[in-house]
């Protein structure tokens, strides 16, 4: 082999590797890989970086934390608790906070990091939902994302529970009460998980393994697959000039994207460290050790558990007793198991539900603007309002205290609102989306309203419209016109025999109508041409012709 450029450049180390794993061709391609740029694409990055921060700070904490419920008598630097009996877990958390330099900082970084982690995942998920980034071919990554969110909630709750302070112990007690409510197996589940009665002495060590090994291991594996898929399928992009379904427009991995993303990691880490230094979080020494017959008023879980707590608070007290011996605790099961189960399942399946309703089997690499998918956006807004209402209810005691409102009034208001508000939000959001679509259509046809009023020689006034910029034009043109709703299937075929799968088809058609019963038609190229032409004269009244096919499709059936 002659001396290659690499050798001349002093890359002997790389040659050593490449002689064993020849990867130059592959790596060459990857270094130039293009990543599109948009602020909302950084949300997933924040989640990833928070996870790394959590791994680092968590490893530090694990050097001192003792996951044990053995009772000890505290004698450390925090004088108010000197001589108090507590678990080793709580005592070692106090030690980390008061006797180890940087320990409190790492604890607070770890806690802030956890809050950011869940928040970033949640907002990232909303971004992906509202822009339709979950559509084919990215359904798998959506499911992985939903799983990651679930695991993040679990992991956060586990971490919150480990210090064995009064607040976390109370949280665990609630978790145990929820386990008890499971039909048939409840008390067994609780006894297996806690190694007997609550609280026992097995739980914290068990939870520790779950928190530092099991769940983070799964999260790490899923994140890896998540990123590999992003890499392999290439990132989606927003519509714009020069951006199509078939290309990716952005900056190459090396050096621009690497510098930006790598720099952003340090920014996230830096901000988290500053938060850890400046803002106190979870001061467990103020709560005291967990004692099963004690409680503090106004105790709140971390923000991401608030909606579950709210659901528990919202539910009326329905318990059914079968034959006087078996109890079904709907008051606990519905808010803590059934509703969350439905929500997460529906969320995971959403890409497939939408696909089924639309019959859309094509690949999508250009993102939707939320207004251009009104039903999806309305579903998202509706779900969000449902979540927010539960979350508000989770803080109903704080609201009651702060605003001096009777807590029963708040609860009853929210009990009603949870049924009334989400459907309203659905309808309103859909209307807003169509309004925005109409405005976009107007802009395409007539340009934007300049605010300049002109007077014609014949005395008429009109507002002068200006043509829109090519950038905006490209964005507006990218709207995908929704397909026609699937027709209602015939119940009987020509021979009068009932069609196979009639019920399923009927459901699909119903769903399809629900998604696509209405739409603002995209202007045709000719219309745009003509519209722009017209604009020099009067702004015409705008009537939307609804094309014939659509009118037919929407005609009432049955």
């Amino acid at each position: 082999m002659s001396t290659s450029k690499v050798e001349q450049a002093g890359g002997a180390g790389y040659l050593w590797v490449d002689d064993r794993v020849p990867a130059s061709k592959y790596l060459k391609k990857q270094l130039g890989k293009v990543f599109p740029d948009h602020w909302s694409f950084m949300l997933g990055e924040i989640a990833l970086y928070s996870f790394i921060i959590l791994l680092l700070s968590g490893t530090f904490l694990s050097l001192w934390f003792k996951p044990s419920m053995i009772e000890v008598v505290y004698d450390g630097s925090y004088l108010p608790l000197n001589g108090v009996k507590m678990s080793e877990a709580y005592a070692s958390t106090l030690d980390i906070s008061f006797d180890i330099r940087g320990g409190l900082l790492m604890r607070q970084i770890h806690h802030w990091g956890a809050l950011f982690f869940v928040a970033a995942i949640s907002v990232h998920l909303l971004r992906v939902f509202f822009t339709g980034a979950f559509r084919k071919p990215r359904e798998t990554n959506w499911i992985i994302g939903v799983t990651l969110l679930t695991l993040a909630l679990l992991e956060g709750f586990a971490g919150y529970s480990l210090p064995d302070d009064l607040l976390s112990g109370t949280g665990l007690r609630i978790a145990q009460g929820i386990m008890l409510s499971l039909p048939v197996v409840g008390s067994y589940v609780s006894f297996f998980v806690f190694g007997g009665e609550f609280p026992g002495t097995d739980f914290i060590p068990r939870l520790y393994t779950v928190h530092v090994l099991l769940v983070p291991g799964i999260i790490l594996a899923l994140i890896t697959v998540h990123l590999m898929l992003v890499w392999f399928q290439k990132h989606t992009q927003f519509p714009g000039p020069g951006r199509t379904q078939r290309n990716v427009v952005g900056y190459p991995l090396f050096p621009v994207y690497a510098a930006k993303a790598g720099g952003f990691f340090f920014v996230v880490f830096g901000v988290t460290a500053l938060m850890g230094g400046l803002f106190q979080i979870n001061p467990i020494w103020l709560y005291g050790p967990y004692i099963p017959d004690q409680i503090t008023a106004g105790s709140q879980p971390d923000w991401y558990i608030g909606w579950l707590d709210g659901a528990l608070r919202l539910m009326p007290n329905i318990e059914i007793v079968f034959f006087g011996q078996w109890n079904l605790m709907l008051n606990v099961l519905v808010p803590a198991v059934i509703v969350p189960g439905i929500i997460f399942t529906a969320m995971a399946l959403y890409p497939f539900i939408e696909q089924w309703a639309t019959g859309d089997k094509t690949h999508h690499h250009l993102l939707d603007r939320p207004r251009n998918a009104p039903t999806r956006t309305a579903i998202g807004a509706m779900s969000l309002s449902f979540y927010v209402l539960l979350w508000i209810q989770g803080g109903n005691d704080l609201i009651a205290n702060t605003f001096k409102i009777n807590i029963f009034v708040i609860t009853w208001t929210l009990r009603i609102a949870i049924f009334v508000v989400p459907p309203l939000v659905f309808v309103i959001t859909k209307r807003i989306c169509f309004g925005l679509q109409r405005r976009d259509r107007d802009k395409l046809l007539h340009g934007y309203e300049s605010g300049i009023i002109k007077r014609l020689p014949n005395g008429k006034y009109y507002e002068q419209h200006q043509p829109i910029s090519p950038e905006e034009r490209a964005v507006l043109l990218a709207r995908a016109e929704a397909p026609l709703p699937l027709p209602m299937p015939e119940k009987y075929d020509a021979n009068g025999i009932k069609q196979k799968g009639y019920g399923v088809k009927k459901l699909q058609s119903r769903l399809s109508h629900f998604f696509y019963n209405e739409q603002v038609p995209m202007p045709t190229a000719a219309e745009i041409e003509e519209g722009n032409h017209h604009e020099s004269e009067l702004t015409a009244e705008r009537n939307y012709e609804i094309d014939d096919a659509r009118t037919k499709a929407l005609a009432p059936h049955e």
């Binding site: 427009v249 720099g263 017959d293 105790s299 008051n331």
Partner: protein, 333 residues
Amino acid sequence: MTIEPYDSGDLPEHKPRRSDVDPKAAKRAERQVGFLFIASGLASAAFIVAYIVTPVDKEMPLPGFGSTNASNLLLGITMGLALFLIGAAAIHWAKKLMPDVEVVQERSPESSEAEHRDALLDEYRRGIDESGVKRRPFILGSMAAALGLAGLPAVVLLRDLGPLPADALTKTMWERGMHILIAETEQKIRPEDMQVGTLISAVPEGIDLVMEEAGNLNELAKSAVMLIRMDPAEIVADQTPEGKEPWSYEGILCFSKICTHVGCPLGLYEQLTHHMLCPCHQSTFDLADAGNVIFGPSSRSLPQLAITVDEDGYLIAREGFAEPVGPSFWERG
């Protein structure tokens, strides 16, 4: 359907930045980036100094926040800055000095070509054929059975995670004649010690020993009770079954302290209305009316402990709880 390929026009023309055209501006950007990196290095050094110099337990005032731990504050700020400045420098560098021309890359094909798919299928069929599973179904069947069964031991192994509940959920240590102790002082209590309107957290006599022997806090998690004294005239009802000796004593009632919703200890007592509110999800129990639920998610009244006094006038349990305390469960009945 998308109007595909929709006419997205051309990429907007690249507008050069100042640092692209003005060497001075580029030089300035270079200096800024370098300065940010240096500042980060200084912050790292400051972190080490703060680590060595600041005692771990020193408090210092923080305007607007009261006071804070000095070590934590200084370590946090220096570490935060050290990291943040690296990030700021890298991003500044990328934005000002690295090319900002957007690059267009074609996407790879959306799926494999048919010939490749077919070739794969052939290869797969060859493998299946060579393995002979189709011709020898016995192997496949027995393998499936073996794999399935191999999973069972893993499940069985978990059996010893905990004991079976037996009667642990239905029984507490309370029994006839047991003294009621003030939880805080662990002292016996006489009715005279309680004024009308007071509420006292209480535990069964000997609970300390039980817990010490068991090495856990389990008993406290279910035996905790509260004593409440109210004007007997205000008691609408208690849980005394018909024809039995009264469960309350001279206006003193004893209820389980464990919320029947999902088990939080109860905490917020309103003297005037005799309402006990659970701080967790606001289940509200009317202690003057047999501990019934008057609001919130809990579906069961608070179990009442029958009490009386012994010959020395101390409060004792008349008998153990008549029903399970705490959250409901499937086989509770």
